[in-house]
Each structure stands twice: as structure tokens, then as C-alpha cells.
């Protein structure tokens, strides 16, 4: 347990510089974006109203009110989200491959630590999840600031009142309202990353042949994971929703349990440095 925490701390500190850059980039990109988008809207309003001699209400009729949605669907916002997601996905691979590649062979050290090797896997998995949660928390704070910025630039006559993040539809997935939904969303994310990790370990154990194993394993895992939904698709209304959920829980545990078991076996007996 102690070694696990040390390794988590170690993995996070290794990514931290890049993480700070990513956070900085997100903040700068979104703040510039929110200012530009709301200023752009106001410039448009002034120009159009001036040119066509429109009242505020007529302008809103034609061009719509300003809501945070307008910013959320702008390239500024989407770009920063996509960059964040892309970097995290790349890092899921890099967190393993960086230890093999390059001049140093840090993987020697990691695999020779006097601790169960699966601890390394758990630590890397935890690091990825923490980094993800960190970014999501940052986004939550940023949106609050952004709403304030919008409010200071766009007068209230032009605005649709924003209640907060929960009514911005793309956030529903990221910020679930209930604890169950939270566990569900992030649990699925965790399983997905765990399966990817095991697939990477297949490649690291069997190299070229391992890529084939990894693909087969990945497809099988996804198949098992989505089996309840597929069943529901083939036999609509045959199962009660509760049954589907229970089946989903069972298949999730099967996928997660098997992925950890396989990863443990590969790390212990098959891994190749």
C-alpha cells in the first residue's frame, strides 16, 4: 500500500510539468475564447442595431440571445477540450512506453522494485484517473469564471440566464448529478483505461505477435462489456431495465477482474524488457 502511494505520487510528478502546461493552455485558450466570443456578439449587436435601427428585442428575435452555450460550442472551447482529451489519451500509452523507449531503461528499475509488479499497473491507472479528475475539476471552476466574464461583457438584456453548468448539455456526462451516475461514468472510464493498459502489456510481452493478441483481447473485452446492451438490442423489451443494469454490473466486474488478472500474469511471467 505504501509503495502504491509512493508510485502514484511518482507517476504524477513525472507528468506534472506537462500537466501544468496543459492547464495553462486550457485556461488561456478558454479565457481568450470567452472574451472574444462575447465581445464578438456584442460588436455584432451594436453594428446590426445601429445599421438597421433595431431595438434590443428585435435583434434578439433575429440573432438569438447570448448564452454560455454559444461559447461552449465555439472552436475556442472545443479546441481546449479536444487538446486535453488527446493529451490524456496519448499519455495512456506514453505512461508505459516512455519507460522502455529512449536511452534510459527505467522499466528495469520499476520491474525490479521489491513490490508486486501489479502495483505499478495500479499506480499508473490511478495517476491517469487523478489527472483526468483534475482536468475536469479545473473545467468546472473555469466555467464558473467564464459565466462571470460573459455577464460582465454582455448586458443582461441580451442574455439567457445560465443557472450553472448542469444545463450545458455536453457537461451532463462529465458532471453527473448523482453519486451513482458519477461511479457509473468514471467506472466505465476506468475499465476502458485498464483494458487499454492490459492491451499495451500484451504488446510489451509478445511484441509483434502481441499487437494481434492485444486487438483480440480488446475486442473480446468490449464484447463482454457491451453484451447486456447488445442483448437488449436483439431482444427489445425482453429484459427489465433493472436486469440490464445488473447484467451490466456483472459484465463490468468480469472485464475489470480479468483485465487485472491478465495484467498481473503478464507483468509477472511474460513481460520483456
Amino acid at each position: 500500500m505504501k509503495n502504491y502511494l509512493k508510485l502514484v505520487n511518482f507517476e504524477i510528478s513525472r507528468f506534472f510539468k506537462l500537466y501544468l502546461i496543459l492547464i495553462g493552455l486550457t485556461i488561456v485558450c478558454q479565457l481568450i475564447g470567452v472574451i472574444r466570443v462575447s465581445k464578438g456578439y456584442m460588436d455584432l449587436a451594436e453594428k446590426v442595431m445601429d445599421k438597421n435601427q433595431l431595438s434590443v428585442s428585435r435583434f434578439i428575435e433575429q440573432y438569438g440571445t447570448f448564452s454560455v452555450q454559444r461559447f461552449v460550442y465555439s472552436e475556442w472551447f472545443l479546441m481546449s477540450i479536444y487538446i486535453g482529451i488527446a493529451i490524456l489519451i496519448i499519455y495512456v500509452f506514453l505512461i508505459w512506453y516512455r519507460d522502455w523507449l529512449g536511452k534510459n531503461s527505467f522499466i528495469y528499475r520499476l520491474l525490479m522494485l521489491p513490490t508486486e509488479r501489479i502495483t505499478i499497473y495500479f499506480a499508473k491507472l490511478t495517476a491517469i484517473m487523478l489527472l483526468l479528475l483534475g482536468l475536469i475539476t479545473l473545467q468546472r471552476l473555469l466555467v464558473l469564471i467564464e459565466i462571470q466574464i460573459v455577464n460582465s461583457i454582455v448586458p443582461s438584456d441580451f442574455r439567457t440566464y445560465s443557472y450553472g453548468i448542469s444545463n450545458i448539455d455536453i457537461f451532463v456526462l462529465l458532471y453527473p448529478n448523482t453519486f451513482t451516475a458519477f461511479i457509473l461514468n468514471y467506472g466505465i472510464g476506468l475499465i476502458f483505461v485498464a483494458v487499454l493498459f492490459t492491451a499495451i502489456l500484451f504488446e510489451r510481452s509478445y511484441r509483434l505477435k502481441g499487437i494481434f493478441f492485444a486487438i483480440v483481447y480488446g475486442v473480446l473485452s468490449l464484447g463482454v462489456f457491451f453484451a447486456p446492451l447488445l442483448l437488449n438490442g436483439f431482444y427489445p423489451r425482453y429484459f427489465y431495465p433493472l436486469e440490464i443494469i445488473l447484467m451490466g454490473m456483472v459484465t463490468s466486474f468480469i472485464v475489470l477482474g480479468s483485465t487485472i488478472w491478465i495484467a498481473n500474469h503478464l507483468l509477472k511471467h511474460k513481460i520483456m524488457v
Partner: protein, 229 residues
């Protein structure tokens, strides 16, 4: 004692280790000798469970390797097994964090012996200094067995001399060492036992002293006989 028993290993279709067996005792320096590509590094990796074997058995003091074994045996690969962006003292902290067998006094002693600056970043070190740090990280562990892969290759003469000095000092005494080399002449006087390997097979295993006393031959003489027929 480290026992390597009837180990077979294949990379794809290529048989890299063929029924390979030898033993290495505590308190002795055992040298695996052979040209490049005969499987010397693979043997070390196999002992440390860093590469799988197809059949056979490897025992350390009669036991298969498990997590606690890494407090008893360590491997010094031919590249540095630490993050290059770390400073030497940070690397020490890392080792102390994870290994009960890390011996800080000995690390300090080695640092002085090798004349290394602990605040130096590993990535900025010369090749010779990097090899010394790599060696240090293994030597400062209070382990019974040390495996070293080509500790003398690719470094300057003076670093080589310093490393050779370590072998005759108290830093190695009492411990079991297995090292590989393809260049025996420099270290012939250091080793107790030679294991000649070719094509993944042990072709000869002998005590250097016995052969020297009984037959008046050096390791190189024996090798000449074996390889040239």
C-alpha cells in the same frame, strides 16, 4: 547460490538459450564470457524475471524469484536504470524510498570514491560517470547477489580502472557477482569462475584459479583452445 537449470528460450523461431545450466556462488565472481549476441544479457534478464523463459528453472538460494528477492539480488544493466532527468541525490532518495536494503552510508562512500557531484543531473553526466552512477545504484544496495551486464564496455580507461578497483574492495566481498563481458583480458585477474557461452549453450564452466594452478593456463588460453579447437 544462483542456479540456472536447463533453461531454454526462443525469440520467435530463434533458439537463444539451449538447455543452459550453470551456478554462481555467493562470495565468488562468476563471469559469463562469449561474443556479442550469444545470449549473455538474456540470461541475466531471465534470472531477474525481465524476460520469460520457455522451459527450465532458475533458483536464487533455492527459491524462485518473487518480490522480496529484489532486496537480495539486483541487476545493473548496461544502460542506466534511473530517470535521466533526476539528479543523483534524487535518485538516491528514490532508491531509499523503495528498498529496505538501500545503504545510504555506502552510497555516500561510493559517491566520494567515484568523485561524483550529487547535485548533478544524470542526463548531463559523461558516459563514464553515468556508468559509475548506474553501478553505484546497484552496489549501494545490501544485496547478496549482483548481476552486471558489460560493466566495462564503452567507458574510458580511468573509469574502467576505478570500477575494477571496486571489485577488489570490501564493496564486493562476501557477495555473489555475475558479470558478462566479451572482453576478458582486462578483468581476468578479478574473476573466480568463468562460464564460456556460445550460441546459447554453456561450452565450459571452470574455476579460474584451479585451471591456472593445475594446468598453468589463463582464461584466454582456455578460450583459445575451446573456440579455435
Amino acid at each position: 547460490m544462483i542456479e540456472v537449470k536447463n533453461v531454454h528460450k526462443k525469440y520467435g523461431r530463434k533458439q537463444v538459450l539451449k538447455d543452459l545450466s550453470f551456478t554462481a556462488k555467493k562470495g565468488e565472481i562468476t563471469c559469463l564470457i562469449g561474443i556479442n549476441g550469444v545470449g549473455k544479457t538474456t540470461i541475466m534478464k531471465a534470472i531477474m524475471a525481465l524476460t520469460p523463459i520457455n522451459s527450465g528453472e532458475i533458483l536464487i538460494d533455492g527459491e524462485k524469484i518473487r518480490k522480496d528477492s529484489f532486496e537480495k539480488i539486483t541487476f545493473i544493466p548496461d544502460t542506466i536504470a534511473m530517470l535521466p532527468q533526476m539528479r543523483i541525490d534524487e535518485a538516491f532518495t528514490f532508491m531509499a524510498d523503495f528498498y529496505k536494503s538501500w545503504n545510504p552510508q555506502r552510497a555516500e562512500e561510493l559517491l566520494q570514491f567515484f568523485k561524483l557531484d550529487p547535485t548533478e543531473k544524470i542526463a548531463n553526466l559523461s558516459k563514464g560517470s553515468m556508468a559509475k552512477v548506474n553501478m553505484l545504484l546497484g552496489l549501494a544496495l545490501d544485496v547478496d547477489y549482483l548481476l552486471m551486464d558489460e560493466p566495462f564496455s564503452g567507458i574510458d580507461m580511468f573509469s574502467r580502472e576505478q570500477i575494477a578497483e571496486v571489485f577488489t574492495s570490501h564493496l564486493i566481498e562476501e557477495r555473489g557477482v555475475i558479470l558478462t563481458t566479451h572482453e576478458i583480458s582486462d578483468i581476468e585477474h578479478l574473476i573466480d569462475k568463468a562460464v564460456l557461452i556460445d550460441n546459447g549453450e554453456v561450452i565450459m564452466e571452470f574455476s579460474v584459479e584451479e585451471v591456472r594452478e593445475n594446468e598453468g593456463k589463463s582464461v584466454v588460453d582456455v578460450m583459445r583452445e575451446v573456440y579455435r579447437g
